[in-house]
């Protein structure tokens, strides 16, 4: 069909690193014991879990005991929000988050609202940066949690976590600071001590690890109300038989990507900037989110006037180019992306955006192919448009 296949949807999910897959292998048919069991088979699994925890902890400058494993980013976010809310409801029922969170945080917040919590959704500026003055105004000792996404999954904006967590801890004696770092993990600086973070959600399948596994960093001393009840795994904070092979693959991917962080960032940033520069030469296009180092190195999000996003990605798909869109038509609720409208786009603009998310595996050749095909597709759709 098409000359090449170019996967540009790494913000959605990534290819598993072959090293990570290799490490997982023995845990399916050989070392398959339950890490909670006392016998040799179980011990081996337990050892693997512990080693994995240490690896992940190291990448966050955290302690091994501060990491618990979950089934993914969504569960980590749910546990962070609901777990902190239910644990601290005697101290206060106010939670602050932003208008540009991933649905895992946003819908958890909405659910907590139904349960009687009060939620403040912070505004962002046109590049997607959170309004720090508004945070200072809204936060009180009633506030038990501030949850702010680190690198935005749609427009790539990287928040200044350190400043935001400082404001949080300075202005409320009861508020914990949580960040959803699923997109930023191993792609920008993340350091729980330096940035003074209480909870951090990360997951495996965005960093070339297997799907179905994630982690939540919970700062020592932070109590959390368990959300999944059962056999008391993970010190009772998250019950359920641990996904040993998943955890092992996650840790290996984390190690890989953490060790090569600078190199990967450099590579992706250079491809990103080339794409942005060239695409913006197409007329009536606009970049969403900031430029430079405050943007995720792998994220590009561009509005194409008079083109509907799903149709655009549909035509690119046919050329073997796999990207995604924030268009209403591609979402179940037929609403355009809440992130794009939060940065001030009209509905029509929000419906005409394309999101390209790179990985360390993308090449210059692939990017050149995209840049060759994209203008034609855009022209074709614009020709078809009655607007």
């Amino acid at each position: 069909m098409s000359e090449l296949e170019v996967y540009l949807d790494n913000g959605s999910t990534t290819k598993t690193d072959s090293e990570a897959f290799e490490k997982m292998k023995p845990y399916f048919t050989e070392k398959y014991g339950n890490p909670a069991s006392l016998h040799k088979e179980g011990k081996e699994a337990k050892k693997a879990i512990n080693k994995s925890k240490r690896i992940i902890a190291d990448t966050l400058n955290a302690d091994k005991k501060e990491i618990i494993f979950t089934s993914g980013g969504t569960e980590s976010d749910n546990l962070a929000l609901k777990g902190i809310a239910f644990e601290n409801k005697e101290k206060g029922k106010h939670i602050i988050t932003t208008k540009i969170e991933h649905d895992a945080v946003l819908k958890s917040a909405k659910w907590l609202e139904e349960q009687g919590f009060k939620i403040t959704y912070l505004d962002v500026d046109e590049e997607g940066f959170v309004d720090q003055e508004q945070l200072k105004r809204e936060i009180t000792d009633e506030t038990i949690l501030v949850s702010i996404i680190h690198g935005n999954n749609e427009i790539g904006t990287i928040q200044s976590l350190k400043e935001l967590s400082e404001i949080t801890h300075e202005h409320s004696k009861n508020a914990y600071f949580h960040t959803d770092a699923c997109q930023s993990y191993t792609k920008t600086n993340l350091d729980v001590k330096e940035q003074n973070l209480d909870l951090v959600s990360i997951n495996s399948h965005k960093i070339h690890g297997p799907k179905g596994v994630g982690a939540l960093y919970i700062k020592k001393g932070t109590e959390i109300h368990p959300w999944q009840h059962g056999g008391g795994h993970e010190k009772g904070m998250r019950s359920g038989t641990l996904n040993t092979h998943g955890v092992v693959g996650f840790a290996e991917a984390a190690k890989n990507n953490y060790e090569n962080k600078e190199k990967n960032i450099e590579k992706m940033t250079s491809l990103r900037d080339k794409l942005i520069e060239e695409i913006l030469k197409i007329e009536k296009t606009k970049l969403n989110g900031p430029k430079g180092s405050k943007r995720l190195p792998n994220n590009i999000n561009i509005c194409f006037n008079n083109i509907e996003g799903e149709a655009l990605s549909g035509y690119l798909n046919r050329k073997g180019i796999y990207a995604s869109t924030g268009s209403a038509c591609s979402s179940l609720d037929l609403e355009p992306s809440h992130v794009l409208t939060a940065i001030g786009l009209t509905k029509q603009e929000a419906n005409s955006c394309l999101r390209i998310t790179l990985s360390k595996y993308n090449t210059k050749e692939e990017i050149n192919y995209v840049l060759k095909e994209l203008p034609d597709v855009v022209k074709r759709l614009r020709d078809m448009s009655p607007l």
């Binding site: 008079n306 083109i307 509907e308 996003g309 799903e310 149709a311 549909g314 035509y315 046919r318 268009s327 209403a328 038509c329 591609s330 979402s331 179940l332 037929l334 355009p336 009209t346 509905k347 029509q348 419906n351 020709d383 078809m384 448009s385 009655p386 607007l387």
Partner: protein, 123 residues
């Protein structure tokens, strides 16, 4: 998310045969709103009460483009009365069923058509 386009839908979307304008069309109709994601314009050449040629211009998603193209194919050769009877359901059926959340895109086609035929009558 649970959305599955049929092959027919994808094929039509990728290679629409009827996209374009008709100069001096006998009837032109429009439906939709860009802020809702879809705008459809339909152009008709009508002779002796029979639609000889149909073309569309669409701003919209995969379902909207495929529906527009399907509609035009269905229209050619039909009388104005027959054309009026086409429903969103008919279009969706020909496309091998649109996903439920996309059904409204086929209805948009019939609305643009109705607009065109109403304009035609007025002439």
């Amino acid at each position: 998310m649970d959305k599955e386009y049929s092959e027919e839908t994808i094929d039509r979307f990728q290679d629409p045969e009827y996209s374009g304008e008709i100069e001096n069309a006998d009837a032109v109709g429009k439906a939709g709103n860009p802020s809702c994601g879809d705008v459809l314009k339909v152009f008709l050449k009508i002779e002796d009460n029979v639609i000889k040629k149909a073309r569309f211009k669409t701003y919209g998603c995969i379902a909207a483009i495929a529906s527009s193209d399907e509609l035009c194919e269905m229209l050619e050769g039909k009388t104005v009365e027959e054309a009026r009877k086409i429903t969103g359901k008919d279009i969706s059926q020909e496309l091998g069923e649109l996903p439920p959340v996309k059904y409204h895109c086929s209805v948009l086609g019939t609305e643009a058509l109705k607009d065109a035929l109403d304009n035609y009558k007025e002439e």
